[in-house]
């Protein structure tokens, strides 16, 4: 069984259909980059997988959990599928360490010491060991985003979802976050990431999905898709972002 | 419970109620106008670099905001005569309410002018507008838009607050409750009816103010 399986999902906001009959399988260990124009439904797709949006039709299975079931245990799902947002969304009232340990203590029921150890570990992995006791507003955007990644990593999810996590950053801060992502990818994490960084998609992702008007328009190995687009839509999208 | 509610008796007092409504509205409008004039002076004085102006202005604002309107009213109406200043109830009411509103008006106006960002003024000046032109075309419109909601809700607050002046015998709307009570001995009905009349006034003014806001600040002039 695949780690993520979407079967014919449909999602509308009011009268507007945003995802139209989307089916998709993601295997364990795969790194999938999702690209597409603004408004094509990329974020909505990730949010549906994480149960933040409810679909009108179709089925979503994540790590064996049926997200679309009426009585789905979304908290267990989210424990297994971490999500990092464009706007970091760190908890402003907690320092870095407690941002990371909060869910470890509450969800995983770890004691303070065990949670603290994991926090030190993941925060060091994103290169912020010396910022363990800083508060979010004392960190740069890039540093905040790395903490958000660490916070999600600490839960040891089976799948990580990233929604344009470098889009809000100043250009000089993008590199440090992408390097952290690359490190996470190398460790075998299954990742789905919405990104506008085509070089990153080409070099790090195994597979690229191009979304267009609520549908998966192209899907295939990263280099192949990006170098030789089969459809005119992807071709024009790529020439728009690359120039 | 064997009390018969008899709201219908009160229908006889329509004329009194209408007269009360008119006086309440007069009081509210006068208070708003005088209060804003005082408030403008106080806001300018409070922001002035001279301590001789700013300290008394702040003292005024703090004193008024931290004491009850009712006590301020009693000082004006019952207290001033011992200094030889004898005022009619109506005049005492307008004075006390205006002095009270002045302190709140000053705060609203100050916040309004602060809300217009420096960058807007700089943008105006950099286009070659004079200071006066910038004030008139850039600052004034934005500041008015910023303070309008506060002024609108302040008007309703004043209208509700005016009822305390019934205690010195001003025959505004709330006073009519005591009058009707004294004629009918129907205290509960009288006070309920009058209190609900204020609700109607409040809702009507809120609707009016939203409409004005829409017409002035939201609607784009037709091309």
């Amino acid at each position: 069984m695949s780690l993520v399986e979407l079967t014919q999902i449909r999602k509308s906001f009011g009268p507007v259909e945003v995802l139209k009959d989307v089916s998709l399988k993601v295997e364990k260990g795969e790194i999938v980059a999702i690209i597409g124009r603004s408004g094509s439904g990329k974020s909505t797709l990730l949010r549906c997988i994480n149960g933040l949006e409810q679909v009108q039709a179709g089925r979503i299975l994540v790590a064996g959990i049926d997200v679309t079931a009426r009585n789905a245990d979304l908290n267990v799902l989210r424990e297994r599928a971490g999500m990092v947002f464009q706007s970091y969304n760190l908890f402003p009232h907690l320092d870095v360490e407690r941002n990371v340990t909060l869910a470890l203590k509450l969800v995983k029921k770890l004691d303070r010491e065990a949670a603290g150890k994991i926090a030190r570990d993941v925060v060091a992995r994103v290169g912020l060991a010396e910022k363990l006791h800083a508060y979010p507003d004392e960190l740069s955007g890039g540093q905040q985003q790395r903490v958000a990644i660490a916070r999600s990593l600490a839960m040891q999810p089976a799948l990580m979802l990233f929604d344009e996590i470098t889009s809000a950053l100043d250009p000089e801060l993008v590199g440090e976050v992408l390097r952290v992502l690359e490190g996470v990818a190398k460790e075998g994490m299954t990742m789905m990431l919405v990104t506008h960084e085509m070089n990153f998609a080409k070099n790090v992702a195994d597979r690229v999905i191009f979304m267009h008007e609520g549908r998966i328009h192209e899907d295939g190995p990263a280099r192949e898709i990006l170098q030789t687009p089969r459809t005119a839509e992807l071709g024009s999208f790529l020439s728009a972002v690359l120039h | 419970m064997n009390y018969n509610f008899r709201f219908e008796i009160l229908l006889r007092y329509q004329a009194e109620i209408l007269q009360g409504v008119l006086l309440t509205l007069q009081l509210s409008v006068l208070t708003m106008v005088f209060g804003l004039v005082i408030g403008l002076g106080v806001a300018i004085a409070a922001g002035s670099p001279s301590k001789w102006l700013s300290v008394p202005a702040r003292f005024y604002v703090e004193t008024i905001r931290n004491t009850p309107l009712l006590v301020q009213l009693f000082i004006v109406f019952f207290g001033l005569p011992s200094l030889g200043v004898r005022l009619s109830a109506d005049l005492a009411a307008v004075i006390a309410l205006s002095i009270n509103m002045g302190a709140y008006g000053a705060e609203i106006l100050r916040a309004g002018f602060e809300s217009v960002r420096r960058s807007q003024i700089e943008a105006g000046r950099s286009l070659g507008l004079t200071a006066a032109q910038t004030f008139r075309h850039v600052v004034l419109f934005q500041a008015t838009k910023a303070i309008y909601p506060a002024l609108a809700s302040q008007f309703v607050l004043i209208m509700l607050a005016t009822c305390v002046v019934s205690s010195i015998g001003v025959t505004e709307l709330f006073h009519q409750a005591a009058f009707i009570d004294s004629r009918t001995y129907r205290s509960f009905e009288a006070y309920t009816l009058i209190t609900l009349s204020y609700l109607i006034l409040t809702l009507a003014f809120r609707a009016l103010f939203s409409f004005i806001y829409w017409a002035v600040f939201v609607r784009r002039p037709a091309r």
Partner: protein, 216 residues
Amino acid sequence: MIREFAGADVVYLLLAARWTVALALVAMLGGGLLGLVIAALRIVPFKPANWLAILYINLIQGTPLLGQLFIFFFGLPLIGIQVDAWTAAAISLSIYAAAFFGEIWRGALQSVSIRQWEAGASLGLTYGQRLFYVVLPQALRVAVAPTVGFLVQLIKNTSLTALIGFVELTRAGQIISGATFAPLRVYLVVAVVYFVICFSLSQMSRRLERKLHVAR
């Protein structure tokens, strides 16, 4: 018998001020509890509950407190509850305060971005955990200053209970003013006592606002 306004009268006023404070405290507690309910009704995803809360808030904030006081003072006996001025005042002010607390706290809760709820959710926190560990600590920070600020309004508004005959600071002032014929001096002393109470609270609210604004 007309006498001089003397030191004993100041003491009498100060003793009466205890009732002002007591009334405000009762309204703060009663109004606080009811205010929590109003805030909850206002935000739960159930339309009729929202409407009920909005109706309550509009009724209370759209009518004069003085009218509400008289309605309770005259109305409670009609439904068989004999009340003195103190009880009518305490009930009425609690109901009044609840509308304001409800709105202040709802605003504070809603000032916390929806993204914070989502971030909590994406970590697997339950609804309750998100509320208690993520949203409430942030909302509390926003709510503290306006809550203390409203207490100033509450203290000032207790003066209206003088008009239904409850002997608090303002009513005590009326009584002494009648006995001494020194209204100016009496009401100035009354005003000073209010000022001391309210100004301390105002300053506290301001300090809290500044402190919670910079701190996390």
